[in-house]
Amino acid sequence: MINDKNSQKIVDIIQNWARKQSIWVLAYGTGCGAIEIPPTMTSRYDAERLGVRGAATPRQADVLLITGYLTTKTLKRVIRVYEQMQDPKYVIGFGSCTINGGMYYDSYNTIKVLDKYLPVDVYINGCMPRPESVLAGFGKLQELIGNGEANGATKYKENLEWYRANQKKIIPNWVMPEYNW
C-alpha cells in the first residue's frame, strides 16, 4: 500500500513541499558573511515569511550556511557539525571565498574550494552577498528541494571515501567520532 511506487511518489511530493516551505538554518557564523544574516532575518528582508528560520543546534537544522571563507580550524568543526545534522540536509556556500578562495587565494589558512570537502547544493556569490542574493539563494534551494534535486547529502554518503581523503589531507590530526547517520 504505502510502499507502492506511485503512492511513494505522492508522499515525496508532499514531503518535498513541506521541506521547501520550512528551512531551518543552523546558527553558525563561520565567516564574515554572518554579518548579512541578521538583516536577512529582520524586518526589511524578513526571511521568516518564506519559512526560513534559525535553529540552535545541528540536530534540528536543515541547512548549513557556510558564510564565507573557512579556515582549516573551522573546517574541522564544520565537518563535525554537518555530520551531526539529520537527513535531509543541505549546504549553502555563501560568498566568493567559498567558491574559489576569493581574495584569500594565497592564504595558508583558508580552504579555497568548498565542494571538495562538503557537498554544496547552492552557491551564492559576491563579497559580501546582499540580503537579496541570500534570499535568491534560498529561493534556488527551495526550487531544488521542490524538484527533489537537492541531494548533496546522498552524494556525500556515496562518495564518503573521496570526501574523507580530501578532508584528512588538510586535517592531519583526525580525532572525530564516526557518525552512523
Binding site: 521541506r19 524578513d46 521568516e48 515569511r49 540536530r59 534540528q60 536543515d62 547517520w181
Partner: protein, 302 residues
C-alpha cells in the same frame, strides 16, 4: 455504544487540541512578527514545520531513555487532556472529565516535565542537563502560587472537582475571576512561568544553552515535543477558562476565551528580556506568592 462514543470523542479531543495548539503557535509567530515590523510566516507555518520534522530521518541514539522523554511528554499531555472538560456540557468531548479532580491534575501536569528531564539527562549533552535543572527549579517557583490559587478555589467552593467549580460559576452567574480575584491574579502570574515565554524562557534560552533540553533532539523527537507542547498549551488554556472564566458552551466561545487569555504571556513576553533562574524564582516568590496568600485568606474568610 457508550464506549465507542468515548473513544471517538477522545480522538476528536486530541485532534482538536493539536490543531488549536499548533494554530495558536503560528498566530503567535505572526503577532510577534508584526511587533517586529515584519510580515511574518503564515499562520499554518507550524504545521509545515511539524510535518517536515516528522519526515526527517532520526538517527540520534542516546539510549532508550531519550526516546522515553518525548513519549512521556506526549502521554502526560494527552492524559491530562482527557481529564479536562473541554466544553461545559460535555458535548462532543465527554472524555473522563467528570471523574478527575484538581489535585490529581496537579500531579499529572508535572509528570511530563519530569519524564522529559530523564530523557534530556540521558542525551549526555551538558546543555540539556543544565536546561532541565533550570526548568525544574523554575517549576518549583511557579507551582507554589499556582497551587495556592487552586487551593483557595477549593476552599471557597468546597469542591476539588473541575466540573464542580464550573457548576458553581454557572449557578452564581459570576466568573471565578471576579468572585475570587486574588486567586486569579496569582494563577495568571504563575501562568507566565508555565508558558515559558519571555521573561521565563531561561530553560531553552538559545543564546545561553543552545535551546536547553531539546538541544540533542531533532526530527521525530522534536516533532513529538512540538505537538505535545501544543496539546499541553491547549490543556492549560482550557483549564484556565474552565476554572476562572466559567468554561465555554461551544467551540467559538472556547477559542475566544482561550485566545484572549493566551495573549497575556505572549504580549508580555515580546517586550521582556529573560530572567535568570534565581531571579525568576525570586519573582514567583514575591508578588504571585503574596496574591496566593491573599487568595487563601480571602477564601477562608468568605
Amino acid at each position: 455504544m457508550e464506549l465507542l462514543t468515548h473513544i471517538l470523542g477522545a480522538i476528536a479531543t486530541v485532534i482538536l487540541a493539536f490543531v488549536v495548539g499548533m494554530s495558536y503557535g503560528g498566530i503567535v509567530r505572526k503577532i510577534t512578527a508584526r511587533v517586529h515590523n515584519r510580515i511574518g510566516p503564515p499562520w499554518y507555518q507550524n504545521f509545515i514545520d511539524a510535518f517536515k520534522l516528522y519526515g526527517k530521518t532520526t538517527a540520534i541514539h542516546h539510549g532508550w531513555m531519550q526516546i522515553m522523554g518525548p513519549a512521556f511528554l506526549m502521554v502526560s499531555s494527552v492524559v491530562t487532556l482527557m481529564f479536562i472538560p473541554v466544553l461545559t456540557n460535555g458535548g462532543w468531548f465527554p472524555n473522563l472529565n467528570f471523574e478527575g479532580d484538581l489535585i490529581f491534575l496537579l500531579y499529572l501536569m508535572v509528570f511530563g516535565p519530569l519524564g522529559m528531564a530523564l530523557g534530556a539527562g540521558q542525551t549526555g549533552n551538558p546543555n540539556s542537563a543544565i536546561g532541565v535543572t533550570r526548568g525544574l527549579s523554575q517549576m518549583v517557583g511557579f507551582e507554589i502560587p499556582w497551587v495556592m490559587a487552586l487551593v483557595a478555589l477549593m476552599i471557597q467552593f468546597d469542591t476539588t472537582s473541575i466540573t464542580g467549580l464550573m457548576e458553581a460559576q454557572a449557578q452564581s452567574g459570576t466568573w471565578n475571576m471576579f468572585s475570587s480575584p486574588f486567586a486569579f491574579i496569582a494563577a495568571v502570574l504563575a501562568m507566565l512561568g508555565m508558558f515559558r515565554y519571555s521573561p521565563f524562557d531561561i530553560v531553552g534560552a538559545p543564546t545561553e544553552l543552545a535551546s536547553g533540553p531539546v538541544s540533542e533532539n531533532g526530527g521525530k523527537y522534536l516533532f513529538t515535543m512540538m505537538s505535545s507542547g501544543s496539546i499541553f498549551a491547549f490543556v492549560k488554556l482550557t483549564l484556565y477558562v474552565d476554572i476562572f472564566m466559567g468554561g465555554a458552551d461551544n467551540l467559538v466561545i472556547l477559542l475566544l476565551k482561550t485566545f484572549s487569555i493566551y495573549m497575556i504571556p505572549v504580549l508580555y513576553g515580546i517586550v521582556s528580556p529573560r530572567y535568570r533562574t534565581e531571579q525568576a524564582i525570586r519573582f514567583f516568590w514575591g508578588w504571585p506568592l503574596f496574591f496566593g496568600v491573599l487568595a487563601l485568606i480571602y477564601a477562608s474568610i468568605f
